[in-house]
Amino acid sequence: MKKGTDWRYRVSNKEAIMGTVLAILNFIWWYAFAYGLGGRPVKEYTYILGFPAWFFYSCIVGFVVFTVLVWIMVKFFFKEVPFDTEEPKPKEGGDVR
């Protein structure tokens, strides 16, 4: 019976936490711009490219920013691990199996 957990799961756990944090940031961005700027009276609205500023930042810029953040997250922070090999080489500091 093997002891310890698969080292690849640690990578995966870390990535799951990163994904969750990104989702929370995404929510905060979306909420803060929408109700922070959009909660004012319509008379005080400012407009960017024709859109009310709250919508422009919350939905349009938010879409672009978070697509780029996803790209940065997987490009620089996600690791490529092999899926199929039953006995992957433990990396330095890997588990004792």
Partner: protein, 479 residues
């Protein structure tokens, strides 16, 4: 009939049909048949994975119902729709490589295979299979009706003929080609959805005389249309935020989505899919719902929200371009039903028949059975869709939220909490589905949030409490 519109639609249907048939030639025989038929041999690359996740998730409501609501309520509804951006990356990130690796280790082909290996409980399997078959069957029938109605409204054919054309084209390629045909056609359908969004958005902005002009007219009509609160001020921040659960993070619990998280080839495919998926889902949701809002300036006074998109496309675009745009909702419906059809059939064959009725069934027989059951399920949905029974329509009300409340914790906690056990999973499924149905019928939108929120909270506690009762924990270190 408007042939300009019908020709691109017909071309699209034929293209999907031919591609679906062509991919079915790749189906392998032998021991890998089930893996191949229900999971395409875990060989999906990044682009196809992204497209099949977006297309399976995006249904008629993204193209018809949603933009119709945006037309009535204004930018507030676009804000709500943008809660879906998170589906592009969250499911893959949270289930992650662990889910894909575990699935390989235990040879899982379906979501229930995963739950079975994790909880080692007959009741978890039976309850899950029941929820999937009942809820997804009715959800599928509802989409099927939608597909028939769409073709009916564009072409003027009778509903039954339209339904026949729609089901015929979907059924043949799903039965013959399995998961591979489903995902390859999903990729085409996803591309059609993106192209349709670009065209209708551009057409609407041009017809409305530019964004600035459109916003000015909206503000003049009713200033609330350009606030986040909706034309009638009905969209409270809490209510809109609760959609982050229903159509955002909760989507992890939908079996037709989570099963895709075990189908990709390698880590690189998953990484690419997260980037592409986020972009595509964000683009479609933003574009289609904005077009709905803008449409109000061009075609004021439409009372039936579902007619907004078709009428708008016909108004602002030349016929053949309108045909391409109208192919998008059809693509969305097809890509949803084909995935769900295969999932229901896999639940019957793999999860019930092979697990409990005949574990030692021969390959050849399993193969015939797979084609056969998929055909039977498909044909019975078709039959149901001709005159949808009330029960089915009633069940469909619970399908989306009920499945999320049932599966989200058994999947996520099963992956990340070692103490979670079968009692917890059973409690979570029962409490999730039960409380969702109860609240939906008796206290819809409790405390100003979408109904789905409380059942997801309750099923979480049910899982925790259940897991503290005596029960076996997984004995292996697979999880």
């Amino acid at each position: 009939m408007n042939w300009d519109v019908i020709l691109p639609l017909a071309f699209f249907l034929i293209l999907v049909f031919l591609v679906g048939i062509y991919t079915s030639r790749h189906i392998k025989s032998g021991p890998s048949f089930l893996q191949d038929y229900f999971l395409a041999g875990r060989e999906l690359g990044g682009f196809v994975l992204a497209m099949t996740m977006v297309a399976t998730y995006g249904s008629a409501s993204s193209f018809i119902g949603g933009p119709g609501a945006a037309y009535q309520l204004g930018l507030g509804w676009v804000l709500l729709a943008m809660a879906q951006l998170v589906t592009g990356y969250f499911t893959l990130a949270v289930l992650g490589k662990k889910f894909a690796i575990v699935a390989r280790k235990i040879n899982a082909v379906t979501l229930i295979d995963f739950l079975k290996a994790r909880y080692e409980s007959k009741w978890v399997v039976i309850l899950s299979a029941l929820s999937i078959v009942i809820f997804l069957f009715s959800a599928m029938a509802a989409q099927w009706v939608g597909g028939g109605r769409l073709i009916e409204s564009f072409t003027g054919l009778s509903y039954t003929t339209a339904l026949f054309i729609f089901s015929g084209s979907v059924l043949v390629y799903v039965i013959a080609g399995g998961f591979r045909a489903v995902v390859i056609t999903d990729a085409i359908q996803g591309v059609v959805m993106v192209i349709g969004t670009v065209i209708i958005l551009a057409g609407t902005i041009i017809a409305g005389g530019g964004i600035e002009n459109i916003m000015g007219e909206l503000r003049a009509e009713n200033p609330n249309l350009i606030t986040p609160f909706g034309s009638d001020q009905s969209l409270t921040p809490l209510y809109v935020s609760s959609f982050w659960i229903l159509v955002g993070v909760g989507v992890v619990g939908l079996p037709q989505i989570s099963v895709r998280a075990m189908s990709y080839r390698n880590a690189k495919a998953m990484h690419r899919a997260m980037i592409i998926g986020t972009f595509v889902v964000g683009f479609i949701m933003l574009g289609m719902h904005l077009a709905g809002v803008f449409g109000r300036v061009i075609l004021p006074g439409i009372d039936v929200p579902d007619k907004v998109m078709p009428l708008l496309a016909l108004e602002v675009l030349p016929g053949w371009l309108a045909g391409i745009v109208l192919a998008a909702p059809l693509a969305a419906v097809m890509s949803t039903v084909d995935s769900v059809l295969l999932l229901v059939s896999s639940a019957i064959i793999k999860d019930v028949y092979i697990n409990y009725i005949k574990p030692d069934a021969e390959e050849q027989f399993v193969k015939k059975l797979s084609f056969g059951i998929t055909a039977v399920v498909g044909l019975s949905v078709f039959a149901m869709a001709i005159h949808p029974p009330d029960l089915l329509i009633w069940l469909n009300l619970f399908a989306f939220g009920g499945l999320e409340a049932a599966f989200i914790w058994p999947i996520i906690m099963g992956l990340y909490w070692k103490r979670g056990n079968a009692n917890g999973a059973i409690a979570s499924i029962l409490v999730g589905v039960g409380s969702y149905m109860y609240l939906h019928l008796n206290y819809p939108n409790l405390w100003g949030m979408h109904t789905v929120v409380m059942p997801i909270v309750l099923s979480f506690f049910a899982y925790i409490v259940g897991s503290f009762t005596k029960g076996d924990r997984p004995q292996t270190n697979t999880f």
